[in-house]
């Protein structure tokens, strides 16, 4: 799936990859990060 130019939600997780890290990666891929957060799954 091509991410460039698409609107993306970065749904990170505290014990995995955080939302901010995902958002940085996606921005470099040319995606438009419209919402990013880090969940805490219990």
């Amino acid at each position: 799936m091509k991410l460039e130019g698409r609107k993306v939600i970065a749904l990170g997780e505290r014990d995995g990859v955080p939302g901010e890290a995902i958002a940085s990666c996606l921005a470099s891929a040319g995606a438009d990060v419209v919402f990013s957060f880090t969940e805490c799954f219990v």
Partner: protein, 106 residues
Amino acid sequence: MGPESQSQIKAVADRFGTDDLVVVLGAADPEALEVAAETVTTGDPAYAGPLAGVSLGLPVVHILEPEVKEQVDPDVYSEQVGLLELTLDTDAVQTAMRKLRHEDGE
């Protein structure tokens, strides 16, 4: 997924529509991935949050999947995800993602 997060996702979907929207996950636990993916596709499995009964049907991928990684600037990926990629079980994540997208033949 918490009600606040669900509320934000719903607001984003309402604002931008679902046609051009993609969800990129970061969780490492297969169960957490399943819950997150289900929430943004068929609705909150716990029937507790704003996305209960709301089928957004959003496409779901994972930051640790090769098809996502290859689109990211290698320097940025290495800086942001490199260490996690080494410590997390990427095989389990990739298997879980294929399974929840029903790409495993089930």
